[in-house]
């Protein structure tokens, strides 16, 4: 719903998109849409963040809706007591009958008494807590003091009025940042949650190339935060960490410009850029990475055969759409119909946009009804979208890939490129298997 913000006078409201020329050189044209969005809010990132830091607890301060959202998005109730929960605001809290701060203190005390293993508690702001202006940063300070160093209490906002889906991680990492010690020691800092196995692999490869110490944010233990300072070269593993990157640069880190480590090419260039930043001999880099590239391409090949020439439409969702489109086009031979992104961070996407074929339609924001009309008009072979849209599109005869799988799966790195391609090839392969005649 709503009207597009930047519409050329000739742009029709449906079907053919109105395109505003991009201010910067990249070949892509950008269609801005401002209407109904079909995107998760930043609270959703708790689902992977809590697994990354097993000594942290994420307490959403919000409503029953927040609790239901995290539970529905997580969908996995394998934990008797998960390390996330919701402090549900009640009428008494809103009416001021109960001081919300006292209530929060009581609830946190109970929670920590029950979970003595927790070292870091994140108070996560939500839409309702932001609207009633509940000051969680003061609450976090107060609780940290009261808990006297036993548990650190931090806060950030995952509210849907300010953040989409993966932006929650950007905010969570920024909450950790003030606790990072300062050091000008040379190091490579990888920011963004990676699957542990994938991260281990990258660390081995960087070591083989002879890089100085490599550290990761978020760390596996919430209390073992890496330092940051003028010797830090920052390498982003995820494309949605604009705020974190700026804040780390403010602390002296230097951002390594690179594509994101999706696919063989992206992963290779990502690692090579880090090596170059430390002046590693390109010959050495090639020695380490060339065999990986060769093996990665072999793993891609069967999936490339399925995907090549197929037309791809990405709905805005995880903020990984642009790098994935680059991978699926350049390495898997897919044609790009539209590449949606919840928001366009031109600084972090500059390198990726430059790799998209000229004339690619990139859309920023969403007006879901109009976008679905474009999908129906274009009849792509595959649509990458959220779970709310997948079955309805399948029922219209359009194959889909759920985007949420991309944030749960180990997809980074040369060795994962085949698996990543397989995620997209599977729906197509499945369609060719099924027959009811």
């Amino acid at each position: 719903m709503g009207s597009p913000v930047s519409v050329s006078p000739t742009g029709s409201p449906t079907g053919s998109p109105s395109v505003a020329p991009c201010a910067e050189p990249p070949a892509a044209e950008v269609l801005r849409q401002d209407g109904q969005r079909e995107v998760f809010c930043g609270l959703t990132s708790i689902v992977w963040l809590h697994r990354r830091m097993p000594d942290a607890f994420f307490l959403v301060v919000g409503s029953r809706t927040c609790a239901h959202l995290v539970q529905s998005a997580a969908g996995v109730m394998i934990f008797a007591e998960p390390r996330f929960g919701t402090a549900i605001l009640g009428e008494r809290d809103l009416a001021g009958l109960a001081d919300a701060n006292d209530e929060l203190d009581r609830l946190v005390t109970d929670l920590l008494a029950r979970r003595p293993e927790i070292r870091t508690l994140f108070l996560v702001g939500s839409c309702p807590s932001e609207v009633i202006k509940l000051d969680l940063s003061r609450a976090a300070e107060r609780l940290t003091t009261r808990l006297a160093g036993r548990v650190r209490v931090l806060n950030y906002s995952g509210s849907g009025i300010e953040t989409t889906f993966t932006q929650g991680e950007d905010n969570a990492l920024q909450a950790l940042l003030p606790l990072m010690p300062s050091s000008d020691e040379p190091q490579l800092l990888i920011a963004g949650t990676l699957a542990d196995a994938v991260e281990d692999r990258f660390l081995v490869l960087f070591e083989r190339m002879g890089l100085p110490p490599v550290r990761c944010l978020p760390p596996r233990r919430s209390t073992e935060l890496p330092p940051v300072g003028r010797g830090t070269k920052l390498l982003l593993a995820q494309p949605f960490l604009g705020g974190t990157a700026r804040a780390l640069q403010h602390r002296g880190a230097e951002l390594v410009e690179a594509p994101y480590p999706f696919g063989v090419e992206g992963s290779r260039d990502w690692m090579a850029a880090a090596a170059a930043a430390f002046g590693v001999d390109p010959q050495r880099v090639a020695e380490v990475l060339d065999p990986l590239v060769e093996r990665g391409r072999r793993a891609l090949e069967p999936h490339r055969r399925v995907l090549e020439g197929r037309r791809l439409f990405l709905m805005p969702d995880s903020q990984m759409e642009i790098p994935l489109a680059r991978f699926l086009h350049r390495e898997c031979g897919m044609e790009l119909v539209e590449v949606g992104t919840p928001y366009l961070d031109r600084r972090l996407m500059a390198g990726e946009l430059a790799l998209l074929p000229p004339g690619t339609r990139v859309s920023e924001g969403q007006d879901v009804e109009l976008q679905l009309e474009r999908v129906r008009a274009a009849r792509p072979d595959l649509v990458v979208c959220g779970l709310g849209l997948a079955n309805p599109l399948e029922a219209e005869g359009i194959a889909t890939k759920w985007s949420i799988e991309l944030v749960f799966s180990p997809i980074h790195g040369c060795d994962q490129a085949g698996d990543l391609a397989e995620l997209f090839a599977r729906p197509l392969r499945r369609r060719s298997l099924l027959s009811f005649a």
Partner: protein, 554 residues
């Protein structure tokens, strides 16, 4: 402020979505931020719906708050009406929009909607929950459409036999079935078929599959059947008060309840009662449950300890079936439905129990562990708790998971419902003869301790095969793709285990314990330790074990 880890019910606007999505020709404009669109996946994934829910979200953002969010609401309403051309419009807000007080319903009332009926939904998000929201929405929608045709006060109630005078078959409405309810799709078919066999027609089924125009026909029926009180209780009471329409309140789950239901329907419609005793009884003829329950293999079901938790309707029905129609011993009964707590308390009292009314799943899990049941009948939440405790479980109630929406015909109500219940509650248990044979042959060398029935669930699950809950889907994703190590499920303490530290087992006690079939060994160990603790016995030997066995034998 209340700490919640997993919840049984969503917010009330999700209840409203269930009504809108169950119906045809209804659209719901929801003033809500973008994250609230997650609710779509409940329908598209759990119910495998092939269409998006008919909901337009305003998806306001922080930057809109300084400006005119009311304008955004009006634009959303106008565009939704134009695009979807609904036959009735629901307008409401979720928790966050409730705080900014745009009053979308009032805004809609001031707009020209081209004569489409509009219902302003005010669902207090900070005090109410999903089922209440569904009931209130259904009531407001029916009332909104029918209030103009309410007969004036003092109008005599329609006579129960008016169908006779009008020269037609009697007819009733089936009210309450909705999406994300438990087996509603199949219950409607079963109840409709059953009524048809008695010459009774169904005028309107709602909300599931109904259009607004169908709701206008509700008063043309002779009675309303309140199939799901959680959703239809409020509207049935209003129709009774306003139109003098009698309500059939017995929910036909189980043989006895189905027979009572038919008797109630016949009474309300002034029809001769169906035969009430002997082999002529319909339940005996039409369902296999009575015979299956009497047949010899079922003797092993006698006294099986069962713990029951769910919504009020299904939990209370399950307790009566378990106790009277399967010969189980109900050792715990509860519900998360506070609105219907009275019915559950009454059902518990009949069985000499005190009902557990709680929406804290950890309290439910603790009660389950304390009751040491052999079978759990619960929601998806209890399925997970039971799995952790190593107890077989069957799901009988919402909240549900994609696997609770089966492809096959699997009602809970009526004669076929009773058959389905027999199968789905008995299958998680070891079959009678099989259990007997395992006990007989367990000393044979081929027998590997830990062998389990292909149907059974002998031991607590350790492998954390990600277990999808109501999230559906996101779920299956994680299951399929998490390759990083999954956190081991925190083991809830087994009953009694926590304090068992002071008690030791002597070698002959342990030896005797090992002779007991593995699938009851855990229970015997717990019982014996409880027995020892109560008597201050620190060392359990074979004699203590047999003393305890005698004490607990039933």
């Amino acid at each position: 402020m209340e700490l919640t880890l997993w919840t049984y019910e969503g917010p009330p606007h999700v209840g409203a979505m269930r009504i809108a999505t169950s119906m045809e020709g209804v659209h719901y404009v929801l003033h809500a931020p973008q994250g609230d669109t997650y609710a779509d996946l409940l329908f598209t994934m759990i119910e495998r719906r092939d269409r998006r829910p008919p909901v337009t979200y305003t998806t306001f953002q922080a930057r809109d708050l300084g400006g005119d969010t009311a304008e955004l609401v009006k634009r959303s309403i106008a565009q939704a009406v134009e695009r979807f051309q609904p036959e009735a419009l629901l307008v409401g807000e979720s928790c966050t929009a409730e705080l900014i007080q745009d009053q979308p319903g009032a805004l809609a009332a001031g707009m020209d909607l081209g004569g489409i009926p509009m219902v302003n939904l005010e669902l207090p998000a900070y005090s109410k929950k999903e089922n209440w929201g569904a009931a209130e929405t259904f009531y407001q929608l029916v009332r909104g459409l029918l209030k103009a045709s309410v007969p004036p006060p003092g109008t005599p109630k329609p006579a129960p036999g008016r169908w006779r005078e009008e020269g037609r078959r009697p007819r009733v409405n089936l009210l309450g079935p909705s999406l994300l309810g438990f087996r509603c799709r199949d219950d409607v078919r079963e109840v409709t078929r059953m009524l048809a066999e008695h010459g009774i027609d169904v005028a309107v089924t709602a909300p599931l599959g109904a259009r607004p125009a169908d709701l206008l026909r509700i008063p043309t029926a002779d009675a309303n059947v309140c199939l799901y009180p959680e959703v239809a209780g409020t509207v049935c009471s209003w129709l009774e008060r306003s139109f003098g329409m009698p309500v059939v309140r017995t929910v036909p789950i189980g043989i006895a309840a189905t027979e009572s239901f038919l008797q109630e329907v016949h009474r309300v419609l002034d029809l001769p009662q169906p035969p009430a005793d002997g082999a002529a009884r319909e339940g005996e003829r039409r369902s296999r449950l009575p015979w299956y329950s009497r047949s010899v293999d079922s003797t092993y079901l006698t006294g099986k300890r069962v713990f029951i938790f769910g919504d009020a309707t299904h939990a209370a029905a399950a307790a009566r079936i378990a106790a009277h129609e399967l010969g189980f011993q109900v050792v715990g009964l509860g519900s998360y439905s506070r609105e219907q707590a009275r019915e559950v308390r009454a059902a518990a009292a009949e069985l000499g129990l005190e009902a557990l009314i709680s929406d804290d799943y950890l309290a439910v899990e603790q009660a389950m562990a304390d009751a040491a049941p052999e079978l759990v009948l619960g929601t998806q939440m209890e399925r997970h708790s039971a799995k952790r405790l190593g107890i077989p479980c069957a799901v009988i109630s919402t909240p549900l998971h994609v696997q609770d929406v089966p492809a096959r015909y699997a009602p809970q109500m009526g004669w076929e419902g009773a058959n389905v219940i027999f199968d789905s509650w008995v299958h998680p248990l070891m079959m009678g003869l099989e259990e007997h044979l395992i006990g007989m042959f367990r000393h044979d060398f081929e027998f590997v301790d830990g062998h389990r029935s292909h149907l059974g669930d002998g031991a607590p699950s350790v492998a954390p095969a990600a277990d999808p809950v109501h999230g559906g889907s996101a779920t299956a994703t994680a299951t399929a793709t998490l390759t990083a190590p999954v956190e081991a499920p925190a083991q809830a303490p087994q009953a009694g285990e926590g304090v068992a530290g002071a008690i030791r087992w002597s070698p002959d006690g342990e030896a005797e314990l090992q002779k007991i079939p593995f699938f009851v060994r855990g229970k015997v160990r717990r019982n014996t330790e409880t027995f020892a603790r109560e008597r201050g016995i620190a060392l359990i030997d074979a004699e203590t074990l047999y003393d305890a066995k005698a004490h607990f034998s039933r």
